[in-house]
């Protein structure tokens, strides 16, 4: 990454001047606190004693037997609040505190990041507003109830596609309108610099642990491949970052919705081209004129027409191999995991599990798959699809 937050052609900070002072202050805070031992100590303590880290690396015996390969699951679903999103929320609330902010805002798609943010805001006694697309509010009711119980205000967003993209717009506008007292906890490795780098920093604990746990279980050595799903890409970057310079295959699943040949898709690197979304240059689904298209995925957390700029760079440069996974493939993969391992995965993570159907992925050798979240929030969707 360059000083201005570029990853190859992607990244940067394409934002109105109104956001600049806040972004500059945040970038400065990242530089200072990354080296600050007391910050690191508090971050580690909260991850351990509050979130329950390290999360286990589980050898999935029956799933491995089913696919005739060796599969380990990184159990991010066992984190407090049920997904990897809490890692980033903890890191950002500590920064917000040090910046003297008293009000927290966030966007959310599936509600996992909204719940994580509402949780850390409650922990620190700060007021919290979460923007959520009206359509996502309808399909992720349990998480909406959790956020409210945690004391957050859930603000429905009825503009545009009424999903994650529009919730993000609404949160950015809120930040423009409240530049002094508010910190915006973005949920993924998206948005203007320094957000992608900052969120990657708070999520890199995932791959650090994988590396250590894998070595412990094998007495050394690295996995042959690491698998993750990608919406914005925070769990993928988190699972990959420690392996970037090793001979480890890094593989992502993008939500293809109804398929790549359908307009109802969210597979940005397959159907998009470079453009600007939420202040970053990235791969983006758009019209020839540059109007941003509505994405579709059965998984609200992957329902995003762009992708984090670092992943856009890693995928277009070939370091990360990405595959499209449809709604139906994800549902089947989620059902299989439930019956083979007794684990109900989030629909987001189910996209990564569907990669195991691909012979070229299975044959890579020892596979670590980031099980980014648990599926309680998706029970209705799993159930409705099975019945229909």
């Amino acid at each position: 990454m360059s000083a201005e937050g570029y990853y190859g052609l992607y990244g940067g900070a394409f934002v109105p001047e109104l956001l600049r002072p806040n972004l500059d202050a945040l970038a400065h805070a990242c530089i200072v606190h990354r080296e600050d031992l007391s910050f690191q100590a508090e971050f580690s303590r909260l991850l351990r004693d509050y979130c329950g880290r390290p999360t286990p690396l589980w050898y999935a015996q029956r799933l491995s037997a089913h696919y005739r390969t060796d599969i380990w699951l990184k159990r991010e679903d066992l984190n407090h609040t049920g997904s990897h999103k809490i890692n980033n929320a903890i890191g950002q609330i500590l920064l917000a505190e040090r910046l003297g902010k008293t009000r927290i805002i966030a966007e959310t798609g599936a509600g996992q990041h909204g719940v994580a943010t509402a949780t850390v805001a409650a922990l620190k006694g700060l007021s919290c507003t979460v923007y959520m697309g009206a359509r996502d509010i309808a399909r992720q009711a349990p998480n909406v109830a959790r956020m409210r119980m945690l004391g957050a205000t859930v603000e429905p967003v009825s503009s545009g596609s009424q999903t994650l993209k529009d919730a993000t717009n609404a949160a950015i506008r809120d930040w423009i309108n409240h530049p002094h007292d508010t910190h915006y906890i973005i949920g993924s490795v998206v948005g203007p610099h320094p957000y992608p780098a900052m969120v990657a920093w708070f999520q890199e604990v995932i791959s650090r642990e994988i590396r250590q746990q894998f070595a412990e279980q094998f007495g050394g050595g690295l996995p042959d491949a690491v698998l993750a799903c990608v919406g914005g890409g925070s769990n993928a970057i988190g699972a990959f970052s420690s392996f970037m310079n090793d001979d480890v295959r890094l593989i992502t699943a993008e939500a293809a919705g109804h398929g790549l040949d359908s307009p109802r898709t969210a597979a940005a690197t397959f159907t998009g081209r470079p453009g600007i979304l939420h202040g970053a240059k990235t791969m983006l689904m758009q019209t020839p004129d540059g109007q941003v298209l509505e994405a579709h995925s059965i998984s609200a957390g992957l329902d995003y027409p762009g992708i984090g700029p670092q992943l856009a760079h890693l995928i277009t440069s070939g370091r990360v191999r990405s595959y499209p996974v449809t709604d139906d493939q994800a549902l089947d993969a989620g059902a299989l995991l439930a019956r083979t391992e007794g684990l109900i995965p989030a629909l987001e993570s189910a996209h990564a599990l569907a990669l195991l159907e691909l012979p070229e992925v299975r044959s890579a050798g020892k596979l670590v798959l980031n099980l980014s979240g648990r599926g309680d929030k998706d029970l209705d969707t799993y159930q409705n699809k099975r019945d229909s």
């Binding site: 940067g12 394409f14 109105p16 109104l18 600049r20």
Partner: protein
């Protein structure tokens, strides 16, 4: 009608294609023909307008649904008669320009009568590095935004790079915010005034009535009004003859 020259520059904003293509052309022509309009900002609707409040967001959505495109925008601009030769400013977001092709955009824009541009999400440093000479060679350029939170350094850079004016955002807010604090506004404008900038200073975002206009005319060169005009027009079935009354309420004190 009072058509005496007024030294405060009045820059009025319309969203191209709002509420539909034909009405939009009629409204644009009416602004071009009104003697008290000094400058026009013509907005290209974008799907994700981050700097805009609810009024312009809504106008953008309606305009896109009515079929507005970049080509349609230039067609509209090329089809009206700018008899008084007033500057017409492109206002739009960078992704639309980038996808159209920046070089093509500049060429086509200038040939259709575009004076200069406001592209709020194109940072001055990126413009300076990648595009400044392209714009300058075609005799056009950008006008940059500054806010009460901008550093002196950012204000100096915006001043140095701006083509026709610098855009003083009246408060830390998206467009159309109606709670502009007049005391803060005058403090901010005085700060800018003391910096002795080379560019004209137009105040925008949250200018909705005569009171803000008066404060702005005292310490700056003019105002930009968007959301308040769109609200006025929407409440009057987009009647172009209502524009005159709107301008009167802005320009003149009606409380005495």
């Amino acid at each position: 009608m009072n058509s005496a020259p007024n030294k405060t520059i009045l820059n009025l904003y319309l969203t191209a294609g709002y509420p539909d293509q034909a009405t939009s052309r009629t409204l644009l022509q009416a602004l071009l023909d009104h003697p008290e309009v000094d400058m026009i900002e013509l907005g290209m609707p974008y799907s994700d307008p981050l700097a805009d409040g609810p009024v312009i967001q809504h106008a953008s959505q309606v305009a896109l649904e009515s079929g507005m495109t970049m080509s349609g925008y230039f067609e509209l601009l090329g089809s009206v008669h700018n008899r008084r030769q007033i500057p017409v400013i492109f206002m739009g977001y960078f992704n639309n320009v980038l996808q159209y092709g920046v070089e093509q955009f500049v060429k086509h824009g200038v040939s259709c009568g575009m004076d200069s541009c406001i592209i709020p999400d194109l940072p001055p440093e990126v413009f300076q590095h990648d595009y400044q000479s392209l714009f300058a060679d075609a005799g056009t350029g950008l006008n940059f935004l500054v806010t009460p939170q901008s550093t002196d350094r950012a204000i100096r850079l915006a001043d140095a790079l701006s083509h026709r004016f610098i855009y003083l955002v009246s408060a830390g807010s998206t467009t159309g915010n109606t709670t502009t604090d007049r005391k803060h506004l005058s403090e901010y404008l005085r700060r800018i005034d003391a910096m002795q900038l080379k560019s004209s200073r137009l105040v925008g975002f949250g200018i909705s009535g005569h009171e803000e206009y008066r404060v702005a005319s005292e310490y700056a060169d003019g105002v930009i009004i968007g959301s308040a005009l769109l609200r006025h027009l929407a409440a009057r079935q987009f009647d172009p003859s209502s524009i005159h009354a709107f301008i009167q309420t802005i320009r003149y004190d009606h409380t005495t």
